[in-house]
Amino acid sequence: MTGAAGRVIGRSVARNEDERLLRGRGMYVDDVRAPDALHVAFLRSPVAHARIRVLDVSAARAHPGVTAVWTHADLGEHAEPLPLLFPHEHLPHPKTQQPLAVDEVDFVGQPIAMVIAENRYTAEDAVELIELDLEDLPAVVDYEAAVDQGPLVHADLPTNVAADGTWTVGDPDRAFAEAEIVVRHRFVCERSSSMPMEPRAVLARLDPGTGSLTVWDTTQCVLPVRSALVAKLGLPEDLLHVIAPDVGGGFGLKGYLLYPEELLVPLAALRLRAAVRWNEDRREHFLASNHQRGQAHTIELAATRDGVITGLRDDFVQDQGAFIAYGLITPWIAASHVAGSYRIPNVSVRYRCVYTNKVSVSPMRGVGRPQSSFALERAVDLLAHELGLDRAELRRRNLVQPEDFPYAREGLFFAGYPVVLDSGDYPKALELALDAIGYDGFAAEQALERERGRYLGLGLACYVEGTGEGPYEGARVYVQPTSGKVQVTTGLTTQGQSHATTFAQIAADVLGLEPDQVQIEEGNTAAFGFGAGTFGSRAIVNCANAISLAALEVRDKALRYAANMLEAAAEDLEVGGGMIHVRGVPERSVSLREIAIAVNPIRYTTLDPSTAGVERFAPARTWSGFERGDGPLLEGSAFWAPSSTTWSNGVHAAIVEVDPGTGDVRYLRYVVVHDCGVMVNPAIVNGQIHGGVAQGVANSFFERMVYDETGQHRNASFLDFLMPYATEVPSIEIHHLETPSPLNPLGIKGAGEGGSISPPAVTAAAIEDALAPFGVHVDEAPLDPQRVRALIAAAPGGAA
């Protein structure tokens, strides 16, 4: 038996999901019809830190159209703090948020009271009627200062430092003692947010007849949300369903578990025996959906005079916000990536998470990678400068080599797995990027342009991206009886990653179909009961391998039945075009649909006469019972649990032009070299890179969350928070390498986050290079025109 079909994996087929979305037939949570639903609005803290003196909701309760108003006092056992997901010895002072504030508020936007009313307009009116009297407490805003001084965010803790840990590889102290040169600098990345275009939303409906509760949620993780709600609400799994229908972007923010609203809205539906919905507005999203990025790294590199990096020390502090439900996930991911693409044998990395009176941080596309990459790549540039060595050459001398794989960094961990880079060709990626950006000729061009008064600069950065973390994902593949459609069900969700296409390609490849003949069902706990969710560039690695195995099972069964039906030997059969046929005799064939009909002894030929056609074949089974427990259907199920994580890698290079007068920065070129192993659909991989780079560019020059010294959020709207439009994001030139991962049968690695990692480092390097005549150093991201001008003014050559 051989598969006769052309490979479907690797083809840039158009997406299965597009037609529906383009016609406005998407079904996002707020589109789910529930005309009878009650609507929720929250009273949220107007200040960053205060004691609640008076909270009186009686006038709101009395307002016409209001069903209920709850404060923490109404929540009973649910007033308890939300769960800490990853306790650890390095986290001695964990604090998680109460669903509704108790006695104290710790950030602007924290929910204090919940109004449930006949519509959102009325609910908001009632929020206005709540009497709230607060006694201000000093706000902790500067997280670096808060390490060892000033007021406390949580008065019952001895310190603002929630977590403090160190990871070590080799013998860094010795490497630094023996170093011929050491560079050391502090690099800072500011807070931003995932900022999906669709805000969060939750709709919950209790079916009074069955007592079952269905929750529509913009989550990236339906099954973990269901587990959390089962635990909290005391309903069994069979009476609690979580559905993430279409979700308008997540980027990590919607993978958090749990936001208070995700508990409170289902709780309201259960208690009020009704449908209840809450839609976050954009201001709430800015204030109360998690942020990320804020980290300050002090990094040191030890090296020999000829540019071999022998040691790295990083000590970084993370702006945690008021709570730490996700434990150390973000600092761990930053720490696991701190040595990047380089063969640095001795590493020490210390991480601390510091409470501040701001909304909490949780993973956002890239998680800690952009920050540690910013520190590392900027430090490598600094080392090159100190050594008087070309920065590309310095990188070349230190890259992990193709023969080094698997390359272990004993002592660092990614997603719980020891860091072992699995495969790649890092030197080739670098040379490709240098070539594409025209590195060798750039200095001459730059000098020429400078004479004309134009300031051009080039930035370069290498990165690695740990992807494909477990523990597992699964899939069920089956051929629908009668219609013959192939249906794939998984425990994942999708927020734009194109699973309906890429996953279909995997099944189609095995079953000899076209991708549009395969339907993907996701985001519904009632359809598939086990899995983690879509985050951490893990979905394709885990799920595609599970789908492939499940589809192979379907194919094996189909071949076995087809051999019976066609009275041929299985070895003589070929699969392709939705058919199985005898090799060399295409007319002796049977379709997947006919096999699916034939294996089911229950057949309604009078209802659907077309199914009677299978009678022309020999029986699918050689005896009347079910062989090998196969049952009456053509299906396969499989789970994939990776043994370790797959490491994608790449190089970014950019050329920018800076106007020293206005501080304006414009990208002239942006080159990405990208290796995520075998690509299922290159166009979709490119789309992921485009989007990732755009977010990285936003973190380089546009977006920051501005808090004043009282902890007020000063730019909580799209008018003030500069999210890039098409006019700000550069056109990106992509070059692919495809080094298969040895860790899974398909050779796939993840691709969701890579694009977002390098832009801050590349942009900073390019701006610094452009402004070299002024002696400007860039050690922060993002910049903006004012900051560029301030850097020039403060630089040695700036006053001239």
């Binding site: 840039s12 158009a14 383009l22 406005g24 037939r25 275009m197 279409d246 308008g248 485009h690 994001v729």
Partner: protein, 161 residues
Amino acid sequence: MKHAVTLTVNGERVEREVEPRLLLSDFLRHELGLTGTHVGCEHGVCGCCTILVDGAAARSCLMLAVQADGVELRTIEGLAEGEELHPVQAAFREAHGLQCGFCTPGFVLAITAFLEESETVDLSDGAIREAIAGNLCRCTGYQNIVEAVRIAARAMGKASA
């Protein structure tokens, strides 16, 4: 106090009584069930709620339903002619111009208005980027949307300016 409004939506006459403070976006989504018009900010910046008001692109979150009295609206649901996608929709599919799809209806309608406006369009990268700079997308990095504009312009027979 409710007000009577009469308007045309996707070619059909609609008569309703509405609260004076009801946003046009909410009216379309909740009263008419036209949920293809998305709401991303409700303060006029993201463009997700863009619709065509008498042929011109407008943000439905910045209008009240009562202000739509007597006008002709086109939403994403009314763009395709039956089975056939509108050239702008088809171009988005061809160019992989959408990922999560949440910003997409707004972009598609804004671009439709832009392309229908004139016989010739400047199809340089810079000009297209300027033309779509009223809408935010968080997924695509815009590059494939720029390409979709080019494909659609060709399909609609627009000469390059």
